[in-house]
Symmetry: C2
Subunit: 258 residues, 2 copies
């Protein structure tokens, strides 16, 4: 590669900044088109603006996630100086399993500490990276009981216990001064009062999101971004590569790299 080629390469880097989705199965499966995954919705909303990267780990709780956030942040970016503009942290659904299920259960105070640790790791990585904390969603006990029964297990979640983790998540956001999206408010409206019928409609197996749950969440995350950080609105961000209809008749390849 000669010097001229190398200079041209530097000028013609086509990389996008990122939105990192960090969480458990509610994030891992968020690109599934069959359930209108909220991650795919964000990815589509930011196409040619930001890459939306999925780092969801099914079944994980904050006890495990606090150890992997820093290595992920350090190794997810493309080489030539791209930035992580936003991280969504969507954890607690597994922490909230009842104490008789130690495989995933994390005590409430440890959950709070772990969320703070994850936020600190992100801030330590980059002071420019925005953070959006998302509360663990409501569950539907009847549906989840059926699901657990089919696996020969007792039900290991309850609405009241998950509500405690949701409340703790809200407190952590307030303490750490991090914007928060409350899924209970998204699904139940202002006041966020539990409603079994609505929970039924937004959840598939009682824990994971059905189409309606994903659709509402995707739109709510985007709306929250627009409110909190107007500079991260898709229409505000530049589009990577010129739009096709300005290219006609222009000299190539220069017109592609204005």
């Amino acid at each position: 590669m000669d010097q001229h080629q190398s200079e041209t390469d530097t000028l013609r880097a086509i990389h996008l900044d990122q939105i990192l989705l960090f969480g458990d199965s509610l994030t891992q499966w968020s690109f599934n088109p069959e359930i209108e995954g909220w991650g795919a919705f964000l990815s589509n909303s930011y196409v040619r603006k930001l890459d939306v990267v999925n780092r969801g780990f099914s079944g994980y709780n904050t006890e495990w996630c606090k150890h992997i956030i820093a290595p992920i942040l350090r190794t997810v970016l493309p080489s030539p100086g791209a930035q992580i503009r936003l991280v969504t942290v969507f954890l607690g659904a597994n922490d909230a399993t009842l104490p008789f299920w130690p495989q995933q259960h994390v005590p409430l105070s440890a959950y709070r500490d772990n969320l703070h640790s994850i936020i600190a790791s992100i801030r330590n990585f980059s002071s420019n990276t925005r953070i959006l904390l998302i509360t663990p969603p409501p569950i539907h006990e009847g549906k989840w009981q059926k699901h657990c029964g089919q696996k020969g297990r007792s039900i290991n979640l309850s609405v009241s216990n998950t509500l405690q983790y949701r409340n703790a998540c809200i407190e952590v956001a307030r303490e750490a001064k991090v914007p928060l999206l409350d899924t209970w408010e998204v699904y139940f409206g202002e006041g966020a009062t539990y409603n079994e019928e609505k929970a039924d409609a937004v959840l598939s197996d009682g824990v994971h999101l059905a189409n309606l749950g994903n659709r509402l969440l995707g739109h709510a995350v985007l709306a929250k971004i627009l409110t909190e950080w107007p500079d991260l609105a898709p229409e505000t961000l530049p589009t990577v590569m010129p739009l096709w209809d300005v290219l006609y008749g222009k000299v190539l390849p220069d017109a592609l790299f204005p």
Copy 2:
């Protein structure tokens, strides 16, 4: 950062290799959950295996794309030595516009040359990167005529012309010894004979993919990968980070990085 920390970081890099989706609007909008985008389907199929990165540019033809593939390949990967395992090249839908529409039209011979150039760029970047060429899909003239009419334009595509570009794409694949997925075969079955009713069912505005078109394409791309490159089958590839149910009772954080 001391030496020990630095060594730990190296060991604890969490990055994924990539599948790069390169193309026009049929790729750009492939993560839209409302139309069950084929890109989102692939992304979901490879979650925790490979990152699926969208580099679709609406309206682009091969004349423009041949200049941007190399810079994209060089600047899409995360720093610590990840690989692009596969590139899908899905172009020609815009090249196939009729000559009276010079804004996007690319003559057939130039289309062929440009596809060869794009393939050469990928091979030049990495001899390990697999390439899947996808033919421009059939169109539906009635629907597209209506769409063009609403914009006050004459229809600028025809089934017979797009068929020539599809045939040229097949020839390029044969000449370059690159695996090919023929969308006409995906939508019309063996023999790939044009069928207006089926075209109607898989296309939204006569050019872009409706839900059925996306669903069939996503499954066909995955099936083609399984046939051509069994080592790229999602079930063959290792999952990033241990599954949650093996972590209970193990010493952290070491158990996360075996």
